[in-house]
Symmetry: C2
Subunit: 242 residues, 2 copies
DNA sequence: AACGATTATATGTCTAGACATATAAGTCAA
DNA sequence: TTGACTTATATGTCTAGACATATAATCGTT
């Protein structure tokens, strides 16, 4: 009954069905708009029950490779082309992955009542206290990135007493505030005097900027700006689409 | 039997189970490492069959919110923190989304045998022909981005005769080569003479650079470099993690 | 030709079982 | 204490059905 009973079915059947279809889509054998065989046809082809086929197709639909339409069938989707997965690694992990020695240095730390600028940056309206932190990450003692961060104490009271001289605030927050959401904005600037000195680069040299705004259940946690020397740092994003 | 029989079960049951668990994770009620109720416990709680619970948990595992371990149970995962979804829209879509008028201008187009530099950029070893294109995208007649592209004719023969004077090569490729994979590298540079003139910005002004390398079934299609004025362009990436 | 009602059908969800399998935990011997 | 063996159990996959539902296609009427 099973057409492929002779092949070594190491992966489970539904995974094989999913891989078979994905391959045909990715190689272009089934171009966008092509109708995939109906579930009952795949049931006949693979000699399995409908639930098994359904699981394979559901996962393909979840991955946006196909679109499923009631009564009509399942169709290969037009490539999406707009979303890529961007790896924004922890800076320490990034540096150690390069086989270089990680260094961290706290430059400044202030606890203050939120100024108007602080509130705008955090996107909060109510007055409150914040911690402002400036620090530097280095690779083999060469400046790698400078970090300028604001933490909302209303959301993370523990940050008031935390000691950031030994542990970077990003890492501290990761262990104290689980499951946040964030938005990154990537842009480019040229180094001003302060930035140039902190990164040990020339004034006017290009810098890659990552602004990260983090919240948790609609509550602001932290806003951070990371500045990287533009000629030495790269962000990699991969995607599947068109 | 169904505990929530009184609630309006608009979404299907497995979606409600998934949403219930996701909410507890995202609010921190179930922190990383916490063991989620066993499938048989959820079966009892929701009064449904195991397959329904299993579908909910499988999707949560696929989204990396939980980790499933045989014999041990399902556990809330530590936030990932490294992957964000980056929206890299089609430039025309991006400009029209801003409510501005899109303009396109072909600056140069050459068909030539691949030089050593071309082969390095495309990541191919064999000699062959390529099309090199330089063009500019503008918003309300203001330069928005300059594009410098190489297309491998061995993979896309039609590009040899395509007319790129009216249609941007990115858009043309999208309609002629379905389902590709790509890698983006984002960096920052300062504008040199040529770039400054093309973007109508000052020499030494910061530029955001996106290098996109596209392939299809292990076959190179195109390599493109997009240069944006660094102070006016922003890339946004969203993610769920820590 | 245009519109409204009916029907057929592919997907969406669910059930109540089944056996496979990895592995945590317990057992026992060296 | 350690290592080898056994056992219990939670997940992984699958079946052979079922009914619900959205909608493409058909039919009938104006």
């Amino acid at each position: 009954m099973n057409v492929a009973a002779d092949t070594p079915d190491q992966p489970t059947l539904y995974k094989r069905i999913r891989a078979d279809i994905e391959k045909r889509i990715l190689t272009g054998e089934w171009p966008p708009g092509h109708r995939i065989p109906f579930e009952h046809e795949l049931v006949a082809r693979y000699g399995c029950s409908r639930m098994t086929v359904n699981k394979a197709l559901s996962e393909l639909a979840q991955a946006d490779l196909i679109e499923r339409r009631r009564r009509a069938g399942s169709f290969v989707r037009r490539p999406q082309h707009q979303s890529a997965v961007l790896k924004i690694a922890d800076i320490r992990a990034e540096i150690t992955a390069l086989g270089r020695g990680y260094g961290y240095e706290l430059i400044g730390r202030k606890l203050r009542a939120a100024t108007a600028a602080d509130r705008a940056r955090l996107g909060v309206k109510k007055a409150g206290k914040v911690v402002a932190i400036t620090c530097r990450h280095s690779a083999d003692s060469v400046p790698f990135a400078v970090e300028d961060r604001l933490i909302d104490l209303a959301s993370v009271p523990d940050a008031a007493t935390a000691d950031f001289s030994g542990e970077p605030p990003g890492s501290w927050l990761l262990h104290h505030v689980p499951w946040t959401e964030a938005e990154h904005t990537i842009s480019a600037i040229v180094a001003d005097d302060r930035t140039a000195e902190a990164l040990d680069i020339a004034v006017g040299a290009p810098c890659l900027v990552i602004d990260r705004y983090t919240w948790r259940s609609a509550r602001t946690i932290t806003a951070v700006r990371l500045l990287y020397p533009g000629d030495s740092h790269r962000l990699i994003a991969r995607f599947k689409g068109g």
